[in-house]
């Protein structure tokens, strides 16, 4: 096979990609108690996919994560965020007033927790999708990284 001289890179990349994805989700769902949050988690998830495309080639990655999926993900993320705002409006509160989501009195925290988690999920989708779209747009102009560029 022609591409065999990148075999170490590919094997190590294969080991690292699942770890990066798990770490991204950890940052996402741990954002309420620790440092980090949806913006960082979205970038980390996007970097996992970019690492895949750097080691296995852009065509392989685009078959696994199609560009249509990436840009749809970004739009859906923004939609989820705005949707929470309209949900709280329909419950009689202000735009993005999480306290109104379940109609709790002040001091009740269920609405706040649910609102923050859903909103951060929206941010995660939007950031991941947008970052992958940007990378595809830039990397898609050159078919593959040539060997002399490494």
């Amino acid at each position: 096979m022609k591409s065999d001289h990148h075999v170490i890179l590919r094997v190590i990349g294969k080991c690292f990609i699942p770890l990066i994805v798990i770490y991204g989700f950890y940052v996402q769902f741990h954002g309420e108690v620790g440092p980090g949050g949806a913006f960082q988690a979205g970038v980390v998830l996007a970097v996992a996919i970019i690492l895949h495309s750097l080691t296995f080639g852009l065509a392989t990655t685009m078959r696994a994560v199609p560009p249509v999926f990436a840009r749809t993900l970004a739009a859906v993320g923004v939609l989820i965020y705005v949707g929470v705002g309209f949900w709280s409006m329909m419950q009689g509160g202000l735009f993005l007033e999480y306290q109104a989501l379940f109609g709790e009195p002040p001091g009740g925290h269920d609405g706040q927790h649910a609102g923050i988690i859903i909103v951060e999920l929206g941010v995660l989708f939007a950031v991941t999708g947008a970052m992958i779209t940007i990378f595809y747009a830039l990397a898609g102009r050159v078919a593959e990284i040539r060997d002399e560029d490494w």
């Binding site: 309420e32 440092p35 852009l58 065509a59 923004v78 999480y98 923050i116 747009a137 898609g140």
Partner: protein
């Protein structure tokens, strides 16, 4: 000289070391001509500055710097680098004298301004006495979220964060509209592969 051996010397030495590394990396970036090395060194610069942010207790900022600056920007710059020439043109000596003077004057003014900054962790600084402290006090009753950064970002200033999310989305959209979604090159690659495969069969 005795101060070097007290307990405070550790963080001080770490700060000096990290900032010295930053300075050297910046000098190397300014002097290098190979774009690949410059992209890699800018990733190193982000990583070291992320470490420095953590050493001055700005964990969230350091985390973002490591994820966006060292991870994402390096990958995007690598992709952008492939679209241009691999090396920058060498330039004549003294051709950058004007920009050098402007940068030097700005640096002198910034250093002069740092004299008035409050010390690190000063309880009487504006950041620690104003609305920031109010958030720390009311946050637990209002939201029940342990991380004040998250509750300020997502709850108190949810509208602001919505704007940021839309900015990220629009940035992705704008780049994709300017450069295309990258699918055309995928089709081209597949076509080339197929052609190569056919040639391989023929020979």
């Amino acid at each position: 000289m005795r101060d070097l051996f007290t307990a405070d010397a550790g963080p001080l030495l770490i700060n000096i070391t990290l900032l010295a590394i930053l300075f050297i990396v910046a000098l190397a970036i300014a002097r290098l001509r190979s774009l690949f090395a410059i992209v890699m060194l800018s990733g190193v610069y982000s990583l070291v500055s992320a470490a420095w942010y953590i050493s001055v207790d700005a964990v969230d900022v350091g985390y973002t710097e490591a994820a966006v600056g060292a991870g994402m920007s390096t990958a995007v710059l690598l992709g952008a680098m492939l679209l241009t020439a691999r090396t920058a043109k060498p330039e004549k000596p003294l051709s950058k004298l004007g920009p050098f003077l402007v940068c030097g004057a700005t640096a002198a003014m910034l250093i002069y301004a740092t004299v008035d900054l409050p010390g690190l962790g000063d309880p009487n600084s504006p950041a620690n006495t104003g609305p920031g402290m109010t958030y720390v006090h009311v946050n637990w009753f209002d939201t029940g979220v342990p991380n004040v950064v998250t509750s300020v970002l997502a709850s108190y200033r949810g509208f602001d964060t919505m704007g940021e999310t839309v900015v990220v989305f629009v940035a992705g959209l704008a780049v994709a509209m300017l450069l295309g979604f990258g699918e055309r090159s995928l089709a081209e690659t597949l076509r080339n592969k197929k052609r190569k495969g056919k040639e391989g069969d023929a020979s």
